[in-house]
Symmetry: C2
Subunit: 322 residues, 2 copies
């Protein structure tokens, strides 16, 4: 673990895919200088508790507690409370693990006690031994609603209960117009030069868009002198995890790295400087460069810890080129 | 399991000791005709969840799910969420089991959804296979505060966190003046003759008093034609479970069956008709009879299921004498 840069890094992340790259980053840089801006539009209340799936995935991953086989939740997790809920005929569509439940109980109590999500998330990370700074995208509530033919579904209902089966026509981020971007991240962007702004290989529509759609955020990132590097979440026409490819198909976005680049450049013109694609998509590099992006072709599939560190090093090197 | 009576029975109960006798009653009578009026003044919110210790003890016991060795909680219980809370530095003084947590999650969600505690408790019992009717003493919140030299402590703080160490000077039942007694139990008392009203061997101060202090309740019981039989919670100068003896000492009440009888007769004159004491206290029978009570001397220590059924049969027989 070498400190390749004395400057801070800001990584935008959703859940599993983003968490993998943040783990790689924390391995190859001074982990205390890694700032992760995490999507909270998936957050929801379940049994009266505040559940923050993406924050928890990032925190558990950086704490070395995640279930790396399953891709979500905690290693050595048990589901006894869930079995109890099943016995009572309660809702069991969301897989509430017992250790995970402790996080939700603890967080909900602290939120009810008047602490905001920024402070509570910081404390959660510290108590689980995470040295990087985990920043919820906002302390204000934002809720992703998935627009389908049958109407709008709260994200977790679409994602977990309906297992992404409904065909998607769009998304709505309830509350986003009133949500203030995380002020600590705005201060970070204002006050110091950064080594890189990294958009992790997370779902463009439901992980990264909610962050970028916060009032003023994407233009602030765009205006920053720091290079913005996106790691493409689509590899060889497939999403490695989750419904990104299915959503792209349903929305008429080509399910390729080029489609991803076009989506981001169309929606956030001038934001991205670098685009990192997998070696299997090398033939698309020229077309993406045509859009004014610098393209790096490198293995982006992160199976091992070494894969993650290698990709993280490449991304930091790309950003260092300016 | 024989139906010794076609009439309904009403039993007033706190937690462990009362639950034992209700289990015996459910074994020796038509269990569907057993109505248990349970103390809820121990109820409290923990991590935002509504915890009802006495209701749960009675329900778990009648459902055959209780941890009979430990005296509270569920058999085969695990404490993984609690370990998670410990890891986060959260409160762990209340032993939240994982299966038990499911009950609190389920109940809290239903209460938040607009159901009242009467309906939620009924559903809980039904879903766990209990045939008897479990009645919270009130749908309205009542909270026992334990008065000590250092001030007032919420009951669970005194009972669990402080392990009953503070010396008690009295009790206050916050909210009791506004609490309406369980209307289903009032209807039961109005509409049909009962075989017996049984005061279970529960703590007089913190289990039975909150029930009897509900506006109008003890006088309604007193005016009922049904015999009221109390099973003494003090045996040979000791409480079999919990802090009753310690509290009696601190309050200057003699720690004997006679002390218990004097306490009830002084506070609720004319309420009790029968007083059931343990064989080890046989010598006190004459003094208790002097107070106008009919006394039955019988083994009251309930270790085995057979003990519980035997005591229950005796209590029903005593009531049947009129």
């Amino acid at each position: 673990m070498s400190a390749t840069t004395p400057l801070s890094v800001l990584a935008l992340s959703g859940g599993v895919g983003g968490a993998k790259l943040t783990l790689g980053l924390s391995d190859v840089m001074d982990s205390e200088r890694l700032n992760v801006l995490v999507n909270t539009a998936d957050d929801f209340r379940h049994f009266g508790l505040q559940v923050c799936p993406d924050i928890d995935t990032v925190v558990y991953t950086l704490a070395g507690l995640s279930n790396s086989e399953q891709g979500w939740g905690l290693a050595d997790e048990t589901f006894h409370a869930l079995k109890g809920l099943e016995r009572l005929g309660g809702d069991t569509w969301f897989q509430l693990g017992d250790f995970d439940l402790a996080t939700h109980l603890w967080r909900s109590e602290r939120l009810a006690g008047g602490h905001d999500l920024l402070q509570v998330t910081h404390d959660l990370a510290v108590r689980l031994g995470v040295h990087s700074r985990i920043h919820p995208m906002s302390a204000d509530p934002v809720s992703t609603l998935v627009c389908c033919e049958q109407g709008e579904l709260p994200f977790q209902h679409y994602f977990v209960r309906e297992q992404c089966a409904p065909s998607v026509t769009g998304f709505r981020f309830e509350g986003i117009d009133q949500a203030r971007p995380n002020e600590q991240v705005l201060a970070l962007l204002r006050e110091q030069p950064l080594a890189a702004i990294i958009v992790c290989p997370s779902n463009p529509f439901v992980s990264i868009d909610p962050i970028l759609q916060l009032p003023g955020l994407w233009t602030t990132l765009k205006e920053s002198p720091t290079p913005v590097v996106l790691v493409c979440p689509i590899v060889a026409g497939q999403a490695l995890k989750g419904p990104a490819a299915k959503m792209m198909t349903e929305l008429g976005v080509p399910v390729t790295a080029l489609g991803v680049a076009e989506y981001y450049c169309g929606r956030y013109p001038g934001l991205l400087n670098h685009f990192v694609i997998d070696t299997s998509d090398a033939k698309l590099a020229a077309d993406i460069e045509q859009m004014g992006l610098r393209v790096t072709v490198t293995p982006t599939v992160m199976k091992t810890r070494q894969d993650k560190a290698q990709l993280a090093s490449t991304v930091l090197a790309v950003a260092a080129e300016g």
